[in-house]
Point group: C2
Amino acid sequence: MKKIFLVAWVFVSLCMNAQTINSPNGKLKMSFQLTPEGEPVYELLFGGKYVIKKSKLGIELKNHPSFIKGFSVVKIDSSSKDETWEPIWGEVKQIRNNYKELAVTLSNENRNIIIRFRLFDDGLGFRYEFPRQEQLSYFIVSNEVTEFNLTGDHKTFWIPGDFDSNEYFYINCKLSEIDAGIGKEVNEISTRSLPGPTIVQTPLMMKTEEGLYINIHEAALVDYPAMNIVINQSAFSLSTVLVPDAIGNKAYLQTPCKTPWRTIIISDKAVDILASKTILNLNEPSKIENTDWIKPTKYVGIWWPMHVGTATWNYADVGNIKLDQTDWNSLKPNGKHGATTENTKRYIDFAAENGFDGVLVEGWNVGWEDWSGNWKEEVFDFVTPYPDYDVKVLEEYAKSKGVKIIMHHETSASVTNYERRMDEAYRFMKANGYDAVKTGYVGWIIPRGEHHDGQWMVNHYVRVAKTTAQYKIMLDAHEPVRPTGLHRTYPNWLACEAARGNEFNAWSRGNPPEHETILPFTRLMGGPMDYTPGIFQVKLNYYDPNKTECVHTTLVKQLALYVTMYSPLQMAADLPENYERFPDAFQFIKDVAVDWDDTKIISAEPGDYITIARKAKGKDEWYLGAITDENSRDEKVSLNFLDKGKWYVATIYADGKDAHWDRNPMVYEIKSYLVNGNTVLWLSLADGGGAAVGFKPASEKDFESLKKY
Amino acid sequence: MKKIFLVAWVFVSLCMNAQTINSPNGKLKMSFQLTPEGEPVYELLFGGKYVIKKSKLGIELKNHPSFIKGFSVVKIDSSSKDETWEPIWGEVKQIRNNYKELAVTLSNENRNIIIRFRLFDDGLGFRYEFPRQEQLSYFIVSNEVTEFNLTGDHKTFWIPGDFDSNEYFYINCKLSEIDAGIGKEVNEISTRSLPGPTIVQTPLMMKTEEGLYINIHEAALVDYPAMNIVINQSAFSLSTVLVPDAIGNKAYLQTPCKTPWRTIIISDKAVDILASKTILNLNEPSKIENTDWIKPTKYVGIWWPMHVGTATWNYADVGNIKLDQTDWNSLKPNGKHGATTENTKRYIDFAAENGFDGVLVEGWNVGWEDWSGNWKEEVFDFVTPYPDYDVKVLEEYAKSKGVKIIMHHETSASVTNYERRMDEAYRFMKANGYDAVKTGYVGWIIPRGEHHDGQWMVNHYVRVAKTTAQYKIMLDAHEPVRPTGLHRTYPNWLACEAARGNEFNAWSRGNPPEHETILPFTRLMGGPMDYTPGIFQVKLNYYDPNKTECVHTTLVKQLALYVTMYSPLQMAADLPENYERFPDAFQFIKDVAVDWDDTKIISAEPGDYITIARKAKGKDEWYLGAITDENSRDEKVSLNFLDKGKWYVATIYADGKDAHWDRNPMVYEIKSYLVNGNTVLWLSLADGGGAAVGFKPASEKDFESLKKY
């Protein structure tokens, strides 16, 4: 056996020239080879032109002989796949998974590695695999050498590399102009670990001078640290920076094992980037067998009042609290506590009246008096309510109204504490009628020295997804590592924050008007975001004349976000009383779906605009959102996605006259028309504005009352 | 109020000269003062002579203005206490707690600290307290400056300072001769973190040229790192080195809080050091209300066979196992697995026949195939038995025999994994009839970068003690931080290893013959040790002719250790078949008690010899152990501790003719005599030998059959 193996090995080794594969439609082409020094390298071409020039591949092992050069080829496997699968929930009903695969087994001193490439029509994924083998069982990754050598000084949408936060606004400049040192000035983010001025995060969105769109990210990030990217600003070469652990190691692995996929999505059309399912396709199918209990959710919550300052998470205005030594009943309430039984009932009523599935309640549990900034381990217990929050009464009340209360587990990044208490906390949830949890990781991680995006925390987030699944609990993680498509594998993990959400508009310089036109090209490439749209009262001096912050969109753009910012978990984030002031505009939020049978990316340009139409799950209803950056825009939308030969009522929510994100953000107009698949809508988006349209089949009565568009 | 406070402050500040207190019997005297720079200092005298010369006190705070000088005195409180309390179990029935106290409140920029001194007749304890205060809530300890400035180049019994291990043999030399760099050569300890060549661990035992014995340690180590000691080898000044966390900080504290006590035990008689209860007195009373379920325990176990190589912990001889991906039933058994159902039944039978309370079973649970040395997080689950170990059958069998199986939780130092699984593991124990657990922490700690003796792990050990107490589980921790008397507060925490146990004799250079004469003066000052004595087959080539290791004592010395090495948890560590070969000697192990009403330290000199007699709990029986180092010794023991005017049968287990720890260790003689309180026994201890004596009230029949001594 050994002899035969050796013969095969020599044969393959001698005949190893560049191995080339083409994507199913031939548009993309990649090749792999070993350099004379035995270093693995790859190239990638789109339409015959280089996208990635010859770039190194490899993983460095700690306390091992070199594992990045001196390789021989042992085996080359090529294959292809073309299948269609149905997500548990998503933007479309069916997803096609169509790729050509090349798997190269390399050997160095009897240690083997497989580099597996999957080439799709819209991109490439590759990963490193370490099969079970004699010479390599346990090892430490000291570095990953993966390169992405680009062909020019591309326009880039980036945020600073950071091991602990992804809550930055995006900057748009050439690769050569990037200065990630700006992260030091973003003081509204409390927990920042900036590895260097030329290091940025993924998903990294670029556009070449020739108009090619390139997105670099990763898929299926499990048991490995997140990837940052360091840029050589003269050679336009990108390479990998893995998030280190407390002592500087990158990953602890045991064979058989594999890294996440490195992904490069490419198209000459921006809309194709948003439509790409390559990252999802590179993730494993659902590991949850029975998924009946997983339900896309629209919710309201006790949350925005804390951000605008009309309520507090904490019950008392005191500092220095010890969880196990405090008599909560003896504290003097501050009178502004948001999560009271009475207030929660009001939200439950509002949710029930307006068809929302859930009510998020933050600040219900003891510990908020000094939860932040103290690197405190025993910060929350996740089971003890404040004296003014009656868990049992509210369970009954919510049940009677057909509404679910959504649990909140802020960990303050004290993850050892959360892991010790998780099981008890989930049992508490199930005993009290909760079936969804929003987690939070604000602050410096405990175990101290670990980072939000390191291997240990990556494993934690996945552990939470698995454990909540065991309890049939849906999950929404705030401040975790950026998503990489794992919601396919753990569909109870509905959404993450993992970016600069709407909340930053409430108390910081906020999100610039272009922010929401970039997020789908960057953060959302990895998965749904709980952005918390729907702020109607965008001018926040409404609450306090001295408050200068505001939401940097028009009211209508907030509506459009329910469509452009895909998530199966959508909050109507504003106060009920604000929705009651604008009931006609609120109707769109009440109507819009959170799960879809189909999605059409109609037009898009990162940093400028996005228009998307989506068909509601199991219904003949479509919803359309169009947003623009700080510049106004006229958007011509052909409704050819509608059922041919059928009439619909299109209810158009448009920016009002002279609307402007800063000067006049809250004016809007709502009009309804009869439309069909031949109709072309002309939407007029104000500076920093948007448009939202709902389409429902027209009834006979509609023909009497409405005009054709 | 503020004004009055200020007046008082100035008054005290101005009149602050040295504050002096004397111990209850006046033998010890200490004084405290501030230097002109406002640095707190103390001195300690014994019989009018300096033991500790002027030495600094203080704690440095990270990111704070100086907190070690510039102090003013705010308040001075003095008080005294004289009380007697009863331990749940122990060496004596009642303990007297008698001290004079001085508590000095100091202030620096409105930040307060209290230094509290308690002066006993045999030593001093002091600690730092941070009251609740406006200017100091959360803080990080960067350093502790506590000094112990000695008066000369004392003879010292020490082991190298190490943040991860205390499993060293002791070295005995002058302070100026200490070279802790020797720790690098102790390769039989796998996990070593040596902070420097002049850094040693506590308890640190010293003897002055004048014959004064000084022991430096700490009491009540909770929520703080362990203390190492750095030695200035010319000035004979000792100062504190706290074990750092993963990023170099020492402790994260929240007011109100306090450090452990720093303890200095002093006497001109070595026996007083061993009899001291000062460390216990400085610990808090039991926090466990109902302690009925806590029972001192004598046990056997499936353990020594793995150390001598006749059995294995692991079931199969394979490496690279993944806990959640292994079909244990499909593995090929290696045929040497110790923890089988059958073997466990044999141990249960043996325990039942010979009156043991428990049977420890190690290697019962899956994961041992690659448990060590891989820094593997998911290493054990603590609930899945190997295919050849039937938990339910053994629960029934043990119950039918009136014996308890002792659970084993080796964590491989993967503490995050253990903390996640602890509750489930304890529930599993209670569901299957276990009420005691031996834990283990072999290897590098996870969270990676943390140390065995750092604050995070100190909190872990206490958390385990508290949590097991909630489940009514008794605890024996191996490889934890060295004890500091916390068994008073958590009496379910029966014992720790935390030093070089008998096991090192099985597979390393072993423990030198003096080892057990030093341990009571060092490691055992903090609490009981699960040393696992009772090895009868001390020559280990018995198992394998090529095996050169052996136990470095005579057989009889192994008996004597049950008395000299105090623990409420005592193993008879050898194989049942070896006890069956020497049933007469085994009788002592069967007879000897594990809980005591009284203890007499008859003679002792660290590194040379120890003789102790103890009265069994609730019985008129005494047991005496005498041990010596590598030198033979004649020990004259007055039996004046026996009930006056009453006759006892003394069964004397003595080293046999020409016995010698190395050349002829297993010869012994057993003789019984009638004795009373006026008898003086002459015990002859061989080189590396010992003597053990049991005393029971004489019956009429004994007067017929036995001679008077």
